[in-house]
Amino acid sequence: MKQRQYINGLMALAVASVIFIVPFVYIFLMAAKTKQQASTLDFSWPQEWHFWANLVEVVQTRNYMLLLAYFNSTVITVGAVTLLVLFGAMVGYVLQRRPSAASRLVFGFVIAGLMIPPAVVPTIWVLQGLGLFKTLTGMILIQVAYGLSFSVLLFRSFIATVPRDLDEAALIDGAKPWQIFYRVVLPLLKPVTVTLIVVQSIAIFNDFTNPLYYLPGKENVTVQLTLFNFQSQFQSQFNLLFMNILLVTIPPLIVFIFFNRQIVAGMTAGAVKG
């Protein structure tokens, strides 16, 4: 019995490592190749190691565009995720705790936000009207608008599992509504907040099409857009492209490793604290 478990575990580990590690090894090997060898897209050992040279070239391309892109992407991701957590939790709380005709209507709009696809040109007109087009602020607001429905849904269903008795106990102790939210409810939402942060920050950091259309301009690059420095319709420099992919993959990976512990901690700490 014990041995069978051991073998099963080992097989699962082997399968998982093939699925998750092989693509990463491929990216790493491609990133170290020369232009000529990379153009064949083989899964092979590099004949010459050009890892450092490729790295330097990618970072220096277009006047250190990648560094600017890291900055822009970080600002957009952090800003948008912060707003998403804050507003998602607030709206979800009200919608769950106060069922009424008005909250059902608002919930209808939230669902509509998930279902109706956004149109690019009218959205740009709105941004132009507000003077937010081609600004990071405008991009953050777009990401918030696109992600808010999902966050509200997630928070609303999670808040349903938080007993109302806690709110009432806090109310009897003399807490104001905002105190109930910030001091009693929000700390209990940690597990779902961590989930949301992980899901949304990866989605926003990796977003390609929205920055492509809503954030034109030389200064407004995001990391995903830098991939186009090395890939074009007819000619691609695959070694630099894969090096860029490697560099772009690292920040979310760090976030994920960091939050992995937080997720587990958040799950176990889901109970009421004293």
């Binding site: 232009k35 000529q36 153009s39 064949t40 897209l41 690019v120 040109v121 740009i124 007109w125 132009q128 087009f133 081609k134 099409t209 492509l212 259309y213 034109p216 301009g217 030389k218 186009f228 420095n229 890939q231 074009s232 319709q233 007819f234 000619q235 691609s236 420099q237």
Partner: protein
């Protein structure tokens, strides 16, 4: 006495302001992200700023393909287009609603330098020329491996029968006769599209009749040939590379340059890939037009280069036009040749190519030097190009669908697009 002084002061102040304003002009430029485009524009803008220190540039890149189309249309629709931008000519140009969105460049002084055959592909429905050519014209035809041709004692074919005979000899020698790369579906269309010169020889009115819904691929024998050739090459059984279903464009270029394959049907921009990845093989590839039925009528189907446009919404219209005047001049053309070399003739009168062009470019030039040996591809003569052609040609090229069936299906595919464009008689 005071009045003249006032006006003098005013005049000098205005002159000062004028100078300052002139010094401030920064033209925004939006180009595609092909390495050659970027290099060419770096050289052009640097040369122009050197001659006109009051104009500086801010260059921005966009992706190609469908994303690029969307960016161009979105930015034109929202009035956010750069002062100067590069985009395809021909049917994609017509899709931009050029009458409303692009500036009229008919009066540009340098239009006199532009080769006349280019102008129709950047002329809007109202007859105004709205672009100037950017880069070299491309030919659609067949790359061949020169050392392999010498080794097997082959000569450049002038008819399809000769081409197939060459293929048989190559296959007998144990090499790949025709490289095909259906992993990049667009590369499957070449046999059909590059055959258009031959279609026009048999039926000179095909493009006009086709646009007017009078001629069809399925009912025009000459037009059917492209599909038939594709089928024939597959049916022969031993001509294609074994991985033709999955190979990519890069693989195809490598095969024909290294001598693994004898032929690869492609547009002449493919040379750029060889220059980048296998610079020592550049002299091993040659080029010939896709042969037709008749050796007496052997000519090249030509793809017009992209064009440079100025949007109607540009705030620096005069400076932008000045820059375009420079690009379309012989000087501008030479700057480009110096920066990126030549993969084909530039469409500027008096702009000579250097003597040391690679053999595949040299092979292409004779077609341009004699009148009547080139014809534009169908997509420059007719606004209709069905969106599914590349899928259909993959089906034919892999033996899934017969040539006759494919031609009929493509006629149906085209119908949707013609109706969307609102063409008469569809």
């Amino acid at each position: 006495m005071t009045k003249p002084i006032h006006s003098l002061a005013l005049a000098s102040a205005m002159a000062l302001v004028g100078n300052l304003a002139a010094a401030d002009v920064t033209l925004s430029v939006l180009i595609d992200n092909n390495a050659e485009t970027i290099t060419a524009f770096d050289a052009l803008t640097a040369a122009y700023t050197a001659a006109h220190p009051d104009v500086t540039f801010e260059t921005e890149q966009r992706p190609g393909g469908a994303d690029g189309d969307n960016i161009i249309k979105t930015r034109l629709a929202t009035g956010e287009m750069a002062d100067v931008f590069v985009y395809n000519s021909g049917s994609l140009f017509q899709a931009l609603k050029p009458e409303q969105t692009l500036a009229d460049l008919s009066a540009l002084a340098s239009q006199a330098n532009v080769v006349d055959s280019f102008k129709p592909v950047v002329t809007s429905q109202d007859g105004a020329v709205r672009g100037i050519p950017f880069g070299a014209a491309m030919g659609g035809g067949i790359y061949y491996n020169i050392p392999l041709y010498k080794e097997l004692g082959l000569s450049v074919p002038h008819t399809w029968a000769e081409f197939m005979a060459n293929n048989a000899k190559v296959a007998a020698a144990g090499k790949v006769a025709v490289a095909q790369t259906y992993g990049d579906t667009w590369s499957s269309q070449l046999f059909v599209l590059a055959d258009f010169y031959n279609v026009l020889q048999a039926d000179p009115n095909f493009a006009a009749d086709y646009t007017a819904n009078k001629a069809k691929y399925a009912t025009t024998p000459a037009a059917m040939q492209g599909f038939a050739h594709l089928e024939e090459v597959f049916k022969a059984g031993n001509l294609l590379n074994p991985d033709f279903g999955a190979a990519k464009f890069d693989d195809g270029m490598h095969m024909v340059a290294s001598g693994e394959a004898a032929h690869y049907p492609m547009l002449t921009f493919g040379l750029g890939t060889i220059k980048q990845n296998y610079p020592d093989l550049v002299n091993d590839i040659g080029f010939f037009a896709q042969p037709g039925e008749d050796a007496a009528h052997n000519g090249l189907t030509v793809w017009m280069p992209s064009a440079i446009y100025v949007p109607a919404s540009s705030k620096h219209m005069d400076e932008a036009k000045g820059f375009l005047d420079f690009i379309a001049s012989v000087d501008g053309c030479n700057v480009m040749i110096k920066a990126i070399g030549a993969t084909g003739p530039y469409l500027i009168k008096g702009c000579e190519l250097p003597a040391d062009v690679p053999p595949s470019v040299a092979d292409m030039l004779p077609y341009f030097q004699t009148a009547g040996l080139t014809a534009p591809a169908l997509e420059f003569l007719s606004p209709i190009k069905g969106p599914s052609l590349e899928q259909i040609t993959v089906e034919v090229g892999t033996g899934i669908r017969s040539a006759a069936d494919a031609a009929a299906l493509y006629d149906q595919d085209v119908e949707k697009q013609a109706k969307q464009l609102g063409l008469p008689n569809w």
